[in-house]
């Protein structure tokens, strides 16, 4: 279980998180929605330790993330980055098996290669892709490789940062389905941040809306359309008029 309590984070004068409280039960898929600049990515980065929060607590499995062994903590995570964040200088299979080629999870090179090819197959890519470099792949293929890398070490927790950004609707649907299948199949806890409402409906068990630095609404995805929350209603219907200010 991931638990955030009263999380605050500011960058200079810009107070991004103003007391985020959120609980993600084990094995559940939580999707965080919200406008650009509301702190969705910052929240994920705080959990991963990429950005230190100013105050508040983050616990994973009941343990404060700042007091646990960092390597062991990160070994439980997989993350799909918005732009893929694949390493240009490494072939696809080494990107996928990066964690298996070094550190505490190190395996023999042949074994790591086999696992990488298997994970690529799991996300719908042929073994021939393994030897290519990221720059030789399309955006959709890069997302799949990023997904394969996120699941390569069978993590307990997977984060997805804008998984369908920049993809055509069909490819976005494919990625959404893959994420859902993989999360269910692995029994992993998932946190996704997205603007894409079709992703929300495809991936989420629960939804949390982040607005003005706090969780404005959270609940099961099935209750999202009838929440009665004016902020959530405006966001999911994409209306310009409502309590959320839009810059024109």
């Amino acid at each position: 279980m991931i638990e955030l309590r009263d999380l605050h984070k500011a960058f200079g004068d810009n107070q991004v998180l103003r007391g985020v409280n959120l609980t993600v039960p084990k094995g559940e898929s939580m999707v965080i929605i919200g406008g650009s600049g509301t702190g969705k990515s910052v929240t994920l980065k705080c959990i991963l330790g990429l950005v230190p929060p100013d105050s508040g607590t983050i616990t994973v499995g009941g343990k404060d993330v700042r007091k646990t062994d960092r390597d062991a903590f990160l070994a439980r995570f997989g993350m799909l980055f918005q732009g893929g964040a694949l390493f240009d200088s490494l072939p696809v299979w080494q990107n996928v098996a990066f964690r298996l080629l070094r550190g505490s999870l190190k395996r023999p090179r042949n074994e790591a290669h086999e696992i990488a090819v298997e994970k690529l197959r799991r996300v719908g890519l042929k073994p021939e892709v393994a030897g290519k470099f990221p720059a030789e792949l399309s955006g959709g293929m890069q997302k799949r490789v990023g997904l394969a890398r996120a699941i390569c070490a069978d993590p307990d927790i997977i984060f997805f940062d804008e998984p369908t950004t920049g993809l055509d609707p069909i490819m976005a649907g494919v990625i959404n389905e893959l994420i859902r299948e993989i999360v269910v199949e692995m029994g992993a806890t998932a946190m996704t941040i997205t603007h894409d409402m079709s992703s929300v409906r495809a991936i989420a068990d629960k939804v949390a809306m982040l607005h003005d630095g706090v969780i404005q609404w959270s609940g099961p995805v099935s209750e999202m359309d009838d929440s009665g929350d004016p902020y959530l209603d405006q966001f999911i219907h994409g209306r310009a008029d409502g309590p959320i200010e839009s810059v024109r």
Partner: protein, 260 residues
């Protein structure tokens, strides 16, 4: 109010310069401390060694060749005023080994390597590859910075040694073909006047310059701003600061090694 504004601006600039020096020093200390703590990334070190050392050979070699030739012509012309043309071989050798080999080699490596390291790491930062490394339980300082800094500190003295030899060769070719020196006498003069410390001091300078080049490239790359403009700015800052620091370090090391 108007009178104090320029003073405030000077104070602000001085403080930000001191803060920058502090940040670079902390970065360097962290990088050096990681040199002695596992894990070590041998493959990345070898890759950096090839990129920084082997692939810089042509540019350093050509620079040294032309510099050695020009130096021979200048010393011959200058020496003629005092009927001291015979000093060409020894001055070329000493000048290349003590000063021009390490300084020009360092500056050429700064242009080629500091820019490429800063651009590569800056792009990695902008595209979240450095964040991805962290999530994959890999310390970016160990994986990206330490191999490059170690490789540059070891490779640049070797480049300087090669550059010294090629520079002296350049002087020899010009001396023999253009200035009518006897080939055997030119070589004998070069060997007789060149001392061990002339060469060794240049190699020590090379190691210091290599460290500076990689430090600046890594520091500005890892702290690059967002977008293409941020990477461009980081690249420019890396080359400029590496070049200025090389020249400053050269003066300090020369004072330390050769002041009477």
């Amino acid at each position: 109010m108007t009178l104090t504004r320029p003073i405030a601006a000077i104070g602000h600039n001085v403080l930000s310069l001191l803060a920058s020096i502090g940040r670079v020093s902390i970065f360097a200390a962290r990088a050096v401390s990681h040199l002695f703590r596992p894990p070590f990334y041998g493959r990345e070190f070898l890759h950096a060694l090839v990129q920084i050392g082997w692939l810089s050979l042509p540019v350093v070699g050509l620079t040294a060749l032309f510099t050695g030739g020009a130096l021979a012509l200048q010393i011959y012309a200058g020496g003629a005023r005092f009927s001291a043309e015979a000093v060409v071989p020894s001055i070329v050798a000493i000048g290349m080994a003590r000063e021009l080999g390490p300084v020009l080699g360092g500056l050429m490596v700064a242009a080629r390597v500091a820019s490429s390291i800063a651009a590569e790491l800056g792009t990695m930062k902008v595209t979240e590859q450095i964040d991805a490394l962290v999530t994959l339980s890999t310390n970016p300082m160990k994986y990206l910075t330490v191999p490059r800094m170690l490789a540059a500190t070891l490779a640049v003295p070797l480049l300087v040694a090669v550059g010294d030899s090629i520079g002296i060769l350049g002087g020899y070719v010009v001396g023999v073909t253009r200035l009518d020196f006897n080939a055997a006498a030119y070589l004998k003069n070069t060997v007789d006047f060149l001392e061990f410390w002339d060469v060794a001091s240049g190699l020590v300078k090379g190691a210091a310059f290599g460290f500076i080049v990689a430090l600046m490239g890594c520091y500005y790359g890892m702290n690059s701003g967002r977008g293409a403009q941020g990477v461009g700015r980081a690249t420019k800052a890396a080359v400029v600061s590496a070049s200025v620091l090389i020249l400053a370090a050269n003066y300090i090391l020369t004072e330390v090694f050769f002041s009477a």
